[in-house]
């Protein structure tokens, strides 16, 4: 005797064609099929339809793959250099460490906030902050802020100035490497030639 709603069983019959049934659903469907000749007929018709659709497929020409491959640009994709970012980062790390040591040596036992690496970072931060302010429309304040930031950098130790320059150069290098596009394969040829006509 049927125990499952007819609509659900019909859904199972369709999904069975696609191999989408769970083991439990398949078991229950088998049970329902045992009880209903009508369902068995429905299943046979669906399976026959599936088979007919499969039989109506056309063969692919034997040289198709070769045609596609010979059509591709002769230059392969440039290999991705997955570790390309490591060198700039390592360079920056060494640079920062070197500047820290240098700042400590030139600044004596105590490192002032306005000198050495900390000073350089603070100055860069000041520049960025001033730039953001300029972007928000607070022109008067930002110009003043920029001037103060530059004064701070220029008045600081030579190490701070060098630090700012190197940090900015390093950031630019990273930006360049990040944005650089890989070379694309050669441009498409005329489609008529591509199709071998």
């Amino acid at each position: 005797m049927a125990t499952v709603e007819r609509a659900i069983v019909e859904d199972w019959l369709q999904r069975e064609l696609d191999g989408d049934l769970s083991e439990r659903e398949q078991r229950e469907l088998t049970r329902e099929l045992e009880d209903s000749a009508e369902l068995r007929l429905e299943r046979r018709a669906l399976q026959a339809l599936n088979q007919q659709l499969a039989l109506s497929r056309i063969p692919v020409s034997e040289d198709f793959r070769d045609r596609v491959m010979s059509d591709l640009p002769s230059a392969a994709w440039e290999p991705r250099r997955t570790g390309a970012w490591r060198w700039p980062v390592a360079f920056l790390a060494v640079l920062v460490a070197a500047l820290a040591v240098l700042g400590r040596l030139t600044g004596g036992a105590t490192v002032e906030t306005g000198s050495g690496v900390l000073g350089a970072i603070a100055s860069v931060f000041g520049l960025v902050r001033a730039g953001i302010l300029a972007g928000t429309g607070l022109l008067g304040y930002s110009w003043k802020g920029l001037r103060l930031a530059f004064e701070q950098v220029l008045a600081g130790s030579p190490t701070a100035l060098a630090g700012v320059v190197l940090v900015i150069a390093g950031l630019n290098l990273l930006l360049y490497l990040g944005l650089r596009r890989r070379a694309r394969p050669a441009a498409a040829r005329v489609s008529g030639a591509r199709r071998g006509r």
Partner: protein, 188 residues
């Protein structure tokens, strides 16, 4: 290697691995396109063009998605463009032939009778083709994707940006329509 790994390998410079992707999808793609353009040679040409486009755009493939979905999306767009161009061509020829200058019906060229036509020359093959043709497009495209493109429910849902339930409903409804149209051939 799965499809996404093959794509990564091609991008790493191993062009031959693209051949494996072609091998995996050529049958599905050619058959899917054939059911839309109704011409074996044009289906092959279009499939070749699709693989070429896909290769050139390989770096824009997002590996979070399935390669098959992306490939068939490109194929679907290519087929639509192709049909649009062909319709324009047919209309312009009709208008040249017409004496009245009245707009003529937009007839697509009849299916070819090329070297692969034997299968379809049988009564049953013709009936299947006719039954699929008569389906409303919303059902027909899902039937083509599932039975000729061999895409999964999930792939179709992703490709058509439809809920999974809608995909199943439309696909099942399309099959029921086909079953009714082909009832004479399915009771052997």
């Amino acid at each position: 290697m799965n499809d996404e790994q093959l794509v990564a390998a091609v991008l790493a410079g191993r062009q031959d691995d693209f051949g494996e992707l072609v091998r995996r999808y050529q049958g599905r793609l050619v058959n899917y396109l054939f059911r839309i353009v109704h011409n074996t040679e044009e289906a092959h040409d279009l499939a070749q063009e699709v693989f070429f486009k896909v290769y050139l755009a390989l770096d824009s493939f997002d590996p979070r998605y399935r390669f098959s979905t992306w490939l068939f999306r490109v194929a679907q767009n290519a087929a639509i463009d192709f049909l649009r161009k062909r319709r324009l061509k047919v209309v312009s020829i009709n208008r040249l032939d017409g004496e009245t200058g009245e707009p003529q019906e937009w007839e697509l060229p009849s299916p070819d009778r090329g070297p692969y036509g034997d299968l379809r020359n049988t009564e049953r093959g013709g009936a299947i083709e006719g039954a699929i043709e008569e389906l409303p497009w919303e059902y027909r495209e899902l039937i083509l994707m599932r039975h000729y493109g061999e895409l999964s429910y999930d792939d179709i849902a992703s490709l058509k940006e439809m809920p999974l339930g809608t995909v199943k409903n439309k696909l099942f409804r399309g099959r029921q329509m086909l079953k009714q149209k082909l009832s004479d051939y399915l009771t052997d």
